[in-house]
């Protein structure tokens, strides 16, 4: 690469890092939010832990190939992972569209969506370090479920989590942008959220769904958001299964990015026509 391109790359990276850092700092600034956040994820976990405990009491040793400790691990990863991959990009983008400040953002010399995703990464990283990790260890202690046994397993979990984050963020951007074409679509956003929660396996491992639904569910992008990292954490994935899921994840990311690029293009054209 030429020196000019090198420098551009370095500037680009440092800019995006700075954006992530800013988001991180701005989260620290909200004190009340920080302290409650620490409690929140443990409470989330607790509620579902007890529900599933009662379910297993009635259902026996294992449900859909999962034993209770594995289920607890799955739940732990589910909620703690959610701290990382969850973001409000869809709402935020929709709001910027509605308030018209999206047009303002376009005059900045960086990629709008890229910047938003990177900011979300900063936010996710913050929540993961301060809420999820401590929560995970605490939950494992209180609920006595096994943590990943080897560095490989930890690595697999973190890689899967990153893929889940990216898939979720891309979906959020997509839906946020759709609000460009529908004026007030909080309804759609809420529906999407529900779909994500149900279909991604946060509440319910996809194994438990009726047999005929499972292939469909497994191929949708939602399963990559939570079902994939949760199973990696609980040690339920064989290396070949992990590889297959990763490929699926990367494919969906490519498809979503393409869709996003097309949507963005149409939105920008519409923006110019409307006069901003």
């Amino acid at each position: 690469m030429s020196p000019v391109a090198d420098r551009a790359l370095v500037w680009g990276i440092s800019l995006y890092l700075h954006l992530a850092r800013n988001r991180f700092l701005s989260l620290l600034a909200y004190r009340a939010n920080f302290w409650t956040g620490v409690v929140i994820y443990l409470v989330y976990f607790g509620s579902y832990y007890y529900l599933w405990k009662a379910v297993f009491e009635a259902g026996g040793e294992s449900l859909g190939k999962l034993t209770f400790p594995q289920m607890a691990a799955y739940l732990g990863a589910g909620w703690m992972g959610r701290a990382f991959w969850f973001n409000n990009l869809d709402r935020e983008i929709a709001r910027e569209v509605r308030e018209g400040s999206l047009a303002l953002q376009l005059i900045r010399p960086y990629n709008y969506l890229g910047a938003r995703v990177v900011e979300a990464l900063g936010e996710g990283f913050f929540r993961f370090v301060f809420y999820a990790l401590p929560g995970l260890f605490l939950a494992a202690l209180l609920a006595s479920f096994p943590l990943p046994a080897s560095p490989w397993q930890w690595g697999a979990f973190l890689a899967a989590l990153l893929i889940g984050f990216l898939v979720n963020s891309l979906l959020n951007c997509l839906f946020g942008l759709l609000s460009f074409f529908f004026l007030r679509n909080e309804g759609f956003l809420w529906a999407k959220r529900v779909a994500v929660d149900v279909l991604s396996g946060v509440f319910l491992p996809l194994d438990l769904y009726p047999g005929f639904l499972r292939p469909l569910l497994a191929s949708l992008p939602f399963s990559l958001i939570s079902y994939f990292p949760n199973r990696a954490f609980a040690g339920l994935l064989s290396p070949s299964e992990f590889l297959r899921e990763t490929v699926l994840g990367l494919s969906w990311m490519a498809i979503l990015t393409l869709g996003l690029a097309l949507l963005w293009d149409r939105a920008r054209r519409r923006l110019v026509v409307q006069g901003g």
């Binding site: 700092l25 620290l28 600034a29 004190r31 920080f34 302290w35």
Partner: protein, 274 residues
Amino acid sequence: MPGDDQPAIDARGLTKEFRKHVSRPGLGGALLDLFSRRYEMVRAVDGIDLLVQRGETVGYVGPNGAGKSTTIKMLTGILVPTSGHLRVNGMVPWRERARFARTIGVVFGQRSQLWWDLAVQETFRLLQKIYRLPESVYRERLEELTATLGLSDLLATPVRHLSLGQRMRCELAAALLHDPPLLFLDEPSIGLDVMAKAQLRRFLRRLNRERGTTVILATHDMGDVEAVCQRAVVINQGKILYDGSVERLRSLRAGTTTLEEAVRALYAAAGREK
């Protein structure tokens, strides 16, 4: 009901203090701020005296952060003063808020009080109900305001489709529907084009002349003050620098011939005294 001889606004030693937190710089500072914060006391309004008689037009002038908005918020009953004596329309604004609110009209330049998604007249209908205006009175007022502000084409238009100038006219009508004897305006001409500004100023002059409405105009646009007000009160850093006629203000300092220059000279002098 205030008698005719009672002043519209009677403020003495009016003060408002805020506790402002000072954030520490950098990442380490941000982490420290999580546990304990540093605060400093700010006097937004520092013992001001203000006596306004009914029927006056007062321009309340000051740069951003001078204490203008804070004063208006105290006068309209939104904020409770830290100390001092305050009577507006014979009442203590913050203490008898609901009753007091019936006697004032407020126009916030930066914030709309119209329902965004509906036609303008829907907001007016709601205001009629809120202020309990009898049907005949409401109709009469609406006709009058529609005529003087030129609203006939706008009444059926959704607020979000209005231009800023059109919206400002509707905001005025909304604030005056219940015919209050005292009208506050907080930066009403921001963002308006020259014609809209002229219209606004003409309207306010006429309002004061024909109905005797007391007008308090908080602004940093000296053109507004020049066109509408007989009296000017200049505030900076919480203190009143000048309180008198607009005429006299113009030539207050040696070498100043316009209001702008005079006011700037006042700020500079006050700054030097520090």
